[in-house]
Each structure stands twice: as structure tokens, then as C-alpha cells.
């Protein structure tokens, strides 16, 4: 509120969106670097670009953690905010990018697609995602959403000779345009009714009584649907299996974590800043009557309740009959979106903290799993079916153990991060009295345990039928897998530290602007 007098100041800009700026500039430099290294062999060039990307992501993360984390809810020109919540989600996405870049070095070699633009697209996808969660302006949200999405569409289609990659990317692009169109429509309607596109100003405006205005409700529905699409909530999830199956494995892992984190982050921000704000605690004069806004909860909570349930149910259910492990994990990622939505429905501090914790730990376990998948694949679509996993636990003990660990974590068994994350969101829901939803959610996760453990069963209790030979294991992939594995176990045993950070992050939502 104090910063609504828009004034440009470069220092201010650097403070708020330094992370984005680093990525954007680094992306440009990377393009030049690619050209500069044209004389070198393709694989050398690709490897160098990969390591550069890793360094860039590390720098970005370091900058955000050291500088932006300590800031107190500064807003730049009413467009971007640097609050702990946005920074936390951004760091999750940068972490996802960093791990994916590490794995990509090996992945691109194995699949003979050593093109420089791969990493550049990845960097811009993360930059867009960060912009998306940092936006406090609907139009900027749309623009950054598109920046992120376009880069991701291109990455999904990166295997040019692979029919599935092309098909998936095209579907993603078409349906993504659909989703974006809904979102843009929503923005337009909101602007038409309230005359502003700034989140806090919209909140002020509808708090005055517009909250039952049909146009506002319609716009809210449209904005939500645009984001549900990215979050992969049923029934807006249908692109997910085709795209996740067709995309390069590492990109699948990246999409399932970074894009999901961005969508969840911005959805939570939109809900708790604009539509059901917690600002009444901040005691600012313009928000005396935000109590009215709490009435909106009666609208979105039942909807999200059903969506979460459907998402958990269908995600897990359809995963059961999948034979392709990547496609199975695509459905599993839909189910995980459902679990996270449970934390949002709780609409309390524990729930939001749980969502943030979930995003972080899901990033670790999901990327870890896709790292193992690409290694076992050798070359894309070489060995992705359940049958191919038979006996691999003995043939490749380390990979088998890691895969088992990540799957156990996704199934939500202790002592892994997956268990703690699920515990947090369900506990938050129970605290708010959503017993039925929590009970049904836990029941669906039992279905989930079936297909996760089936892979482990295949790996350890069945004999090999086909001679599956894993691809060469690159050092950076080993590093990434070790980081994810340690993280998954560490967070499973000592979750307090991250939980406290996530809690601080979600509390900042009540004080934005």
C-alpha cells in the first residue's frame, strides 16, 4: 500500500527482481556463448552450456536467498513484489531448473540432441515462472505466464524425430492457448468491472461489495481455470499424460515441478491476496471491511474441494492401469496436485506451509525419479514400460535403490519427505474440519501406493525378461541424484528447518503491500 506511488528506480528494480534479471541477461549471454563456441564439437559445446546453466541457476538461487529473502514485501511499480512467499516458490523453481540442467547434460548426450537453445529455453522458462509468482498485476501475470509457457512448449517438442514429443507438444500448445485465453478473459472482465489490474486494488474494490457481482465471479472462475490447467487439476488435466509421456524425460520432471510450483504459487497468491485476503491482520485502513471478502470462501472452497477430490481420485486411479512408467508418473503428478490442493482448501497457515513444503519435496523426489528413468531408458522410449523394469534392482543396485527411494517418497511412506509433506497438508485440512476430504485423500493415496510399489516389485521380485541396458551415467546426473536422494531422506527425518522457513514464507502473504 505504501508503495503504490509508482516510481522507477534501478536499485529498487534490482532488489525486487534481481533473480529474473540475472536469468534474462544470462540467457542472452548464453546465446552468444553458443555462437562463440560454434567451432567446437557439438557435445563439448552442449556440455559447457549445461554447466554454465547450472552456474547461472546457482547464482540466481544464491542471490535470491541472500538478498531478496531478507526484504520486507517491497513492491516494484505495482508490478512485482519481493515477499518471502514469492521468493520461496521461486527458489523451488530455480532448484528444479538447476537439478534439471544437471541431468540434462547427460540426457542430451544420451539422446544425441545437443542443441544450445535447450538450456536457453530452460533459463527463460524459469525466468518467466519467477516473474509469474512475483507479479502483483494481472497483466504481468499473463505475460510471464506466456513467457514460461512458450519456452516449455518448445522444450516439450525438443525431440524433433520423436512422434510422441511432437504430438504432445502440439496438444500442449493448443490446450495451453485455451487455458491462457480463459485467463486473459478473466483479466479483461476484472478490469472492466473494477478498472484496475493490480491485485491489492482489485481486493479493495471488490471488498466494497462487488464480491457477489456475477461478472467478478465469472472472472474469478476463468482466472482459476487458467491456473488449474497449469496445475493439472481434473478435469483440466487431460493434456498432462500425453505431454509428460512425449516430452524429454528430464523436461517432464522439470515441467512437473517448476511449472506446477509456479501455478500453485500464483494461485495461492491470487486467492489469499485478492479473493480471500488475510490482510485484515495487517490493520491497514483500506482493508477495514475485508471480512466481506471471507464470504468468497463459500464460493471457491466447495469447488476446490470437489476438484481436489476428483484430482486425487482420478490421478491415482488411472495411474493404476498404465504400463508406461513415465505416463504413470504423469498421472501420479496429477494426484499430487490434488494433495497440494487439500492444503489450499484448509486456508490456514499450516495448509499454506504444507503446500510450500510439498512443492519443495515433490521437486526433489519427482526430478530424482525422472533422472533414474532417463538413465534406465538409455535412449528415449527405449525402456519405459513396467516390463522393462523387471529385475533391474539387482542388475543396477544403485539405480534400483534410488528409484525405490523416490517412489516410496511419492507414495508418502516414512522416513521420506513425501510422508512429511502429505502429513502437513492433511493435518492442516483436519485442523479445519475437513475430515471427509482428508480421509478420502488418504484412501486415494493407498491406491497410489499400489502402483508406486508395483515398480519396486517389478525391480526386485521379478526376473528380467528383456535385456535392458542403461545409458551411460554422466557425473552431473550422479550429483543431481545424490542431492535429491539426500534431500528426500533429510527432509523426511528433519523437516523442522524447512517447515519453519516455509511458514515464514506463507506468513508474508498476510503482509504484502
Amino acid at each position: 500500500m505504501n508503495d503504490l506511488n509508482f516510481s522507477f528506480d534501478f536499485f529498487h528494480l534490482w532488489q525486487v527482481i534481481g533473480g529474473q534479471l540475472i536469468l534474462i541477461v544470462a540467457g542472452l549471454i548464453l546465446i552468444l556463448a553458443d555462437i562463440a563456441m560454434l567451432k567446437l564439437d557439438e557435445d563439448v559445446r552442449s556440455r559447457r552450456l549445461g554447466w554454465l546453466t547450472v552456474i547461472i541457476f546457482a547464482l540466481t538461487a544464491a542471490h535470491m536467498m541472500s538478498r531478496e529473502w531478507g526484504l520486507h514485501n517491497i513492491v516494484f511499480m505495482g508490478i512485482f513484489s519481493a515477499d518471502k512467499f514469492s521468493i520461496f516458490v521461486s527458489i523451488v523453481m530455480v532448484l528444479s531448473g538447476l537439478l534439471a540442467a544437471l541431468m540434462s547434460i547427460g540426457y542430451l548426450q544420451n539422446n544425441d540432441v545437443m542443441k544450445g537453445e535447450y538450456y536457453i529455453l530452460m533459463i527463460y522458462a524459469v525466468a518467466g515462472a519467477i516473474g509469474l509468482v512475483q507479479s502483483v498485476d494481472l497483466l504481468m501475470m499473463f505475460i510471464t505466464l506466456e513467457v514460461m509457457s512458450l519456452a516449455i512448449y518448445a522444450l516439450a517438442a525438443f525431440l524433433k524425430n520423436n512422434r510422441f514429443s511432437q504430438e504432445g507438444a502440439l496438444k500442449y500448445f493448443l490446450l495451453g492457448s485455451f487455458g491462457s485465453a480463459f485467463f486473459l478473459f478473466g483479466v479483461a472482465v476484472i478490469y472492466g468491472v473494477t478498472g484496475t489490474i493490480n491485485l491489492t486494488k482489485i481486493a479493495q474494490s471488490i471488498a466494497g461489495g462487488l464480491y457477489t457481482n456475477p461478472a467478478i465471479l465469472l472472472a474469478f472462475a476463468m482466472l482459476s481455470v487458467g491456473l488449474f490447467f497449469k496445475m493439472a487439476m481434473v478435469p483440466f488435466h487431460m493434456w498432462t499424460p500425453d505431454v509428460y509421456e512425449g516430452s524429454p524425460s528430464v523436461i517432464t520432471g522439470f515441467m512437473a515441478t517448476a511449472v506446477k510450483a509456479a501455478a500453485f504459487g500464483v494461485f495461492v497468491k491470487l486467492l489469499f491476496v485478492t479473493f480471500t485476503p488475510m490482510l485484515s491482520q495487517s490493520g491497514q485502513p483500506d482493508f477495514q471491511n475485508t471480512i466481506n471478502l471471507a464470504a468468497l470462501g463459500a464460493y471457491w472452497k466447495p469447488v476446490l474441494w470437489w476438484l481436489a477430490l476428483l484430482t486425487m481420485f482420478f490421478g491415482n486411479l488411472i495411474a493404476v492401469s498404465q504400463q508406461n512408467v513415465k505416463r504413470m508418473l504423469a498421472y501420479s503428478s496429477i494426484a499430487h496436485a490434488g494433495y497440494m490442493a487439500v492444503g489450499i482448501i484448509a486456508a490456514n497457515g499450516d495448509g499454506r506451509m504444507g503446500v510450500l513444503f510439498y512443492l519443495f519435496s515433490y521437486t526433489l523426489m519427482n526430478l530424482g525419479a525422472f533422472g533414474v528413468i532417463y538413465l534406465i531408458d538409455g535412449k528415449e522410449r527405449n525402456a519405459q514400460t513396467l516390463e522393462d523394469y523387471r529385475g533391474l534392482g539387482y542388475k543396477y543396485p544403485a539405480l534400483g535403490f534410488l528409484m525405490g527411494l523416490f517412489l516410496v517418497a511419492m507414495a508418502g511412506l516414512p522416513p521420506t519427505a513425501g510422508f512429511i509433506a502429505k502429513f502437513y497438508v492433511f493435518a492442516a485440512a483436519i485442523k479445519e474440519g475437513y475430515f471427509l476430504l482428508a480421509a478420502l485423500g488418504v484412501m486415494t493415496s493407498v491406491i497410489g501406493a499400489y502402483y508406486y510399489l508395483r515398480v519396486i516389485y517389478m525391480m526386485y521380485m521379478k526376473d528380467e525378461v528383456r535385456d535392458v541396458v542403461r545409458g551411460p551415467v554422466a557425473m552431473p546426473t550422479v550429483i543431481a541424484l545424490v542431492i535429491t536422494a539426500i534431500g528426500v531422506i533429510y527432509l523426511g527425518i528433519l523437516p523442522e528447518q524447512l517447515a519453519n522457513i516455509a511458514n515464514a514464507a506463507q506468513q508474508s502473504l498476510s503482509m504484502i503491500f
Binding site: 490446450l175 480463459f182 476463468m222 481455470v225 493434456w239 500425453d242 491406491i447
Partner: protein, 659 residues
């Protein structure tokens, strides 16, 4: 010196860890060295602590060491703490000392076994848990040891797990002990509920205080329940009626294990536990009556079962059950020190007997049947003489160890302060049992070492005296079988011999003094006149001599015809005793089979059909069905996907607008 107590269990633990983790790669010499020296060190530490304990005033002879706070839940607080008082000191010296000897013996006996490292590691593990059991300062630590020795026993009974019967015997021991442990745990719960603690140094003073303030009457139901439940645990671990059945089968393990675990130490844990809990037992005379009656029955019953066994180790096994009965008679008639005294002498002579039998079995190339032996005395003189010493000791002839301890127990039973009549009856059973003991033990000696060799040519050729590392422990134990009783010379004899003191009773006095006070205040110890005492003592010696003479007549003088003739004439009795009163068969029929068939019912109907079939597989089948149906929606067409999105949006919008 208390700060070194933890070393006593630590050394065996280290031995276990080193041999258990790396033993497979070590040479046998190194394994033996590690296993024996760790126990040796424990024994030395125990000796040093003993020396220091003696330097203290008798009433201050309690050393405690708290290692760390183990668990705290509300008011429930347990420390990992050790306590040494005269009672645990005696136990500790017996356990570490005899373990040391048996470890040395094992280096000879088990040398050729391919899993030598595993054997040694288990044996060290046993000593570790046994030390925990006797050194623990509260019932929880004792229980850890209690379960731990059970585990070690299970592992060692089934040590040669390739044999089906061995594995079954191990399982039987484990299951039967579990039944006892159930009682033990319930007893602990009840004790905690009553006294709010499980630490020795809280529970006993509190019980005494409550008794003195009238809050706790003699024979209160709680005390009886606690003591009887704990005794149920003891019947499992110490092989008393009705849970003794596992011990004879436990002879499937290697013979040194039988000597150490199933004769000298582990099985006496129940006796130790009752002696440790003496304050509570003294406050519950009815529980004591239960203990002493069960014990007297066991003593006689098991002794008769030993008469006709042909397996040399089975004879000793039943003898152990019987002798444990005597120990329980001792602690059951409030003569706690006498029970511990017999525990000690029994540890010497029964370990010696088992090791001698091991030596014989070793010489017979693994044959345990006494019908194949005979005349071994000439070929194995050391084994023969040491075994003879131990046999005289167990038969209760002066001046050997068993005479003093057994006679002390029977004398005290005769003068049972709480129930004088029952005491006389217990004395009678015990005295008859003593005669039977002398009979079957000398039968064993005569069948094994005298007469003519009845085995095969090959065995006859192979019979030899065992090497020094096996005979040395025999000689040490035989010596103690002779002199072990001199630590507890009864006052009557001591006076005649010029005022010899009863060392052990005096040493143990501080532990049992409170009980003695209670007993004397409730029911004065009946005075036994001196002549009567002399005649009781002589009587038990006479009974033993009768038993020996009978054995000599049947198995030496008329060995050719009389045993067979008797077997034919008294066929029914013979079969009954030969088959151990069919107790195993009765248990099988009455308990095991019904439980088995009930469990089959539960398995087939409740578990396999209802839970697995309908409860588990049903939903699984349903999920698979639903899944196969639901995936059809995902048909790959973008139009379908888009339609679903729009329908979703419309549904949400409708809800918002028309709510």
C-alpha cells in the same frame, strides 16, 4: 569402582560385534582369542569390583551406575542403569567365570565347525545379555537381558539349523518362553501401577515403607498377583512345571551351550529374579507357597523322568529341571540365600557334567546314546574323574558342594515359617527327589564309564581323551564341585569343625535382611532341635546312598538281565516314565493342536477369504476395473480434452452464479 561396572557387559558386546560383523573373514585363532579374552576381561573386572565391594561396610555394599536416561514418558522413567550388590556380585562372578571356562572349552569342542565365528559371536552375545540381566538396576533392563538371553538361546539351540529338529527345538524354546514372558511383562506393569517405578531402589524401599505404615498388608492381592505373574515368567525361563518342556529339547544345541545357557546360567535367571524380588515375595506368602509347591513337584517329577532316558544329555537336561526345582524350593521357603547357594554349586557341577558329557560325545563321534557307551573310564580318565566328582556333588554326598546347598534347602523347607505343614511335605518330596537324583546320575556314570563298550568297532577305535583346552575347564569345575560348597557351611557343621563361618550367607545377608525381618515379625521361624537337624541331614545322605546302591545293583551287578526284566515286568510304568509321562503329547493334543486348527480356520476363512479376498483384493479388483474404464476417457483427441476443460469451466461458473 562403580564407574567400571559398564565394562562387564561392554566387553562381551564388543566381542560379539567384532566376531559377528567380521568373524567370517577372521582365522579361527583370532576369533577364539577375541571371544575368550573379552569374557576374561569381564571376569577380571568383576573380580576387581568384588575386591572393592568387600572393602565396604556390609550395609553399604551397593554400587550403582547410571549410563543414561533411557526413556521418559510422562511419569514413566527408565534409566539405563547398573547395580551391583552382593547378590548380583555372586551372579556376576558365576556368569563371567563359568562363561570364560566354557568359551575355552568351546575352542576345542567347536573348532571343526564351519560356522565357528557365528557360534562364538552368539556365545558372546549371550554373555552380554546375561550381564545386562543380572546387573540391571531396574526390571526393564533386566527384561532386556531376559529377552536377550532368550534370543541367544534360540539362536544357539538352532545353531545347526540345517537339521529340522534343531530348528523346531529352537522354536519351541522361544514360543514357550514367550508364554512365560507374557506373565513377566504383566507383572512389571502391575508393579509399575502399584509402586510407580520399576527401579529396584525405588520399589523395595517403597514396599517396605508401605508395609510399615500399614498401607500394604501381608498377602495383599496385588503383591500375590505381581509375584505370581513374575513367577510365571520364571517358570518359562527356568523350566518349571508347566513350562519346562522346552529345556530337554534344547539339548539339540551344541553341548557347551547346554552347559552354559541351559544349565549353569540362563535357566537360573528365574531364581535370581525371585531372589532379587525377595521383599515383595516375602510380603506375599501365598505366592511363596505357589513357588515352593511348583518347585517341589518339579524337583521330583523331573527327577523321575531322568531315570530311563538313554540320551546322555537328556538325562542331564531333566536333572537340570529337577535341580532348578530345588533352587526354587530354596527361594520359595524364604531361604533366599540357600537358593542362590544351590544356584552357585549347581552352576559348577552341572556345567562340569555337561562339559564331561560333551567330552564323551566328542570321543564317541557325536553319538549321545548311553546304550552304545560303557567302559570309557579307562580311555578317558580325566573326563571320568571330573564327571565322578560332579556326580557325587549333585547326589549330595559330603563333603562335595551339592551336599551343603541341597541340605540347606531341604532343612529350610522343613522349617518353612509361613506354612509349616506344607514345608514338611515339600521336604519329603525334595528328599525323595534327592534319592532319585543319586540313582539316575550314577546310572549315567555306570552306563557310560563302566562295564563293556557297546558301541561299534569304529567308535571303539576312535575313543580318546579330549585335548587340554577341553579338559582344563573340566578340572577347574570339578575342583569347584568339591570345594564350592565350603563357602556356605551350615552353622551346625561349622561349629564342630572349629567355628568355620558361613561366608556366603554373611555376604548375601544385606540383600535379604529386610525379608528376614518381615518373616520373623510375621511368622517366627520354627525352631528345629539340633538332634533333629542332624538326623535330617543324615537322612538325605542315606537316601542318596540308597539311590547309588540301587543304581549299582541294577546297572552294574545285574546289568545283563535286570534292566530288561524290570522293563517287561513293569511295562506300563516303564512306558509312562520312558515317555516322560506323555506331557509333550498332552500339550500337543490339548493346546498346540487346538490352537493350530483354530489358526488354520482363521487363516483360511477369516484371513484368506474374508480379509484378503473380500477386504483387500476386492477393492483392488474394483480399482483396476474402474481404472481401465476411466482411462478410456483419455482418448488422445484434443477436442475431447478441450471439451472437458470447457465443461469444467461451465460447471464452476454455474456453481458461482447460481449457488
Amino acid at each position: 569402582m562403580e564407574k567400571y561396572i559398564f565394562l562387564i557387559p561392554l566387553f562381551p558386546l564388543l566381542g560379539f560385534l567384532i566376531n559377528g560383523l567380521f568373524g567370517k573373514k577372521f582365522g579361527k585363532g583370532l576369533i577364539s582369542f577375541i571371544a575368550c579374552t573379552t569374557i576374561g576381561f569381564s571376569f577380571l573386572v568383576a573380580l576387581f569390583i568384588w575386591k572393592d565391594l568387600l572393602a565396604l561396610e556390609p550395609e553399604h555394599r551397593v554400587l550403582t551406575q547410571t549410563l543414561w536416561d533411557w526413556m521418559t514418558v510422562g511419569s514413566f522413567h527408565i534409566d539405563l542403569a547398573f547395580m551391583i550388590d552382593p547378590l548380583s556380585m555372586v551372579m556376576c562372578l558365576i556368569v563371567t567365570g563359568i562363561s570364560f571356562l566354557i568359551h575355552i572349552y568351546s575352542t576345542g569342542y567347536m573348532w571343526d565347525d564351519e560356522s565357528y565365528w557365528r557360534y562364538m559371536a552368539y556365545l558372546n552375545m549371550f554373555v552380554f545379555f546375561m550381564c545386562m540381566l543380572i546387573l540391571g538396576a531396574n526390571y526393564v533392563v533386566m527384561f532386556v537381558g531376559w529377552e536377550g538371553v532368550g534370543l541367544a538361546s534360540y539362536l544357539l539351540i538352532g545353531f545347526w539349523y540345517q537339521g529340522y529338529d534343531n530348528a523346531i527345538a529352537g522354536k519351541k524354546a522361544f514360543v514357550v518362553n514367550r508364554i512365560g514372558d507374557f506373565g513377566f511383562v504383566l507383572g512389571m506393569f502391575l508393579m509399575f501401577w502399584t509402586f510407580g517405578s520399576l527401579s529396584y531402589q525405588d520399589v523395595f524401599p517403597k514396599a517396605l515403607e508401605m508395609y510399615e505404615h500399614g498401607a500394604l498388608a501381608i498377602n495383599s492381592p496385588f503383591m500375590i498377583a505381581i509375584c505370581v505373574l513374575l513367577f510365571i515368567g520364571a517358570t518359562g525361563k527356568s523350566a518349571q512345571i508347566p513350562l519346562y518342556v522346552w529345556l530337554p529339547d534344547a539339548m539339540a544345541g551344541p553341548t557347551p551351550v547346554s552347559a552354559l545357557i541351559h544349565a549353569a546360567t540362563m535357566v537360573t535367571a528365574g531364581v535370581y529374579m525371585v531372589a532379587r524380588t525377595n521383599v515383595l515375595y516375602t510380603l506375599a506368602p501365598t505366592a511363596l507357597l505357589v513357588v515352593s509347591s511348583v518347585a517341589a513337584l518339579t524337583a521330583l517329577f523331573a527327577a523321575t523322568m531322568g531315570i530311563l532316558q538313554n540320551d546322555i544329555k537328556k538325562v542331564l537336561a531333566y536333572s537340570t529341571v529337577s535341580q532348578l526345582g530345588y533352587m526354587f524350593i530354596g527361594v520359595g521357603v524364604t531361604a533366599y540365600w540357600a537358593g542362590i547357594f544351590h544356584l552357585m554349586t549347581h552352576a559348577f557341577f552341572k556345567a562340569c557334567l555337561f562339559l564331561c558329557s560333551g567330552s564323551v560325545i566328542h570321543a564317541m563321534s557325536g553319538d549321545q546314546d548311553m546304550r552304545h557307551m560303557g567302559g570309557l573310564a579307562k580311555k578317558m580318565p580325566i573326563t571320568y574323574i571330573t564327571m565322578l566328582f560332579a556326580t557325587i556333588a549333585i547326589s549330595g554326598l559330603p563333603p562335595f558342594a551339592g551336599f551343603f546347598s541341597k541340605d540347606e534347602i531341604l532343612g529350610k523347607a522343613f522349617a518353612f515359617p509361613y506354612y509349616p505343614m506344607a514345608g514338611k511335605f515339600i521336604w519329603l518330596l525334595g528328599t525323595i527327589g534327592a534319592g532319585v537324583t543319586a540313582f539316575y546320575m550314577f546310572r549315567l556314570i555306570f552306563m557310560t564309564f563302566h562295564g563293556e563298550f557297546r558301541g561299534t568297532e569304529e567308535q571303539a577305535h576312535h575313543v580318546h581323551e579330549s585335548p587340554l583346552n577341553m579338559t582344563f575347564p573340566l578340572m577347574v569345575l570339578a575342583t569347584f564341585s568339591l570345594i564350592g560348597g565350603w563357602f556356605g557351611i551350615p552353622g551346625l557343621i561349622g561349629e564342630k569343625l572349629g567355628g568355620l563361618p558361613n561366608l556366603l550367607e554373611h555376604f548375601l545377608e544385606p540383600v535379604f535382611e529386610h525379608s528376614a525381618h518381615i518373616v520373623s515379625s510375621v511368622a517366627p521361624v520354627p525352631h528345629v532341635p539340633e538332634p533333629l537337624e542332624w538326623s535330617l541331614m543324615s537322612l538325605s545322605v542315606i537316601v542318596a546312598i540308597i539311590g547309588i546302591c540301587l543304581a549299582y545293583y541294577i546297572y552294574m551287578v545285574r546289568a545283563k538281565d535286570l534292566p530288561e526284566k524290570l522293563a517287561k515286568e513293569y511295562a506300563w510304568h516303564y512306558q509312562l516314565i520312558y515317555n516322560k509321562y506323555y506331557v509333550d503329547e498332552i500339550y500337543e493334543l490339548m493346546i498346540v493342536q487346538p490352537i493350530y486348527y483354530f489358526s488354520v480356520l482363521l487363516w483360511k476363512v477369516v484371513d484368506a477369504f474374508m480379509i484378503d479376498g473380500i477386504g483387500v483384493n476386492g477393492p483392488g479388483w474394483l480399482v483396476k476395473r474402474l481404472s481401465a474404464g476411466a482411462r478410456l476417457v483419455q482418448n488422445g483427441y484434443v477436442q475431447t480434452y478441450g471439451t472437458f476443460m470447457v465443461m469444467g469451466l461451465v460447471a464452476i461458473a454455474c456453481f458461482y452464479l447460481y449457488r
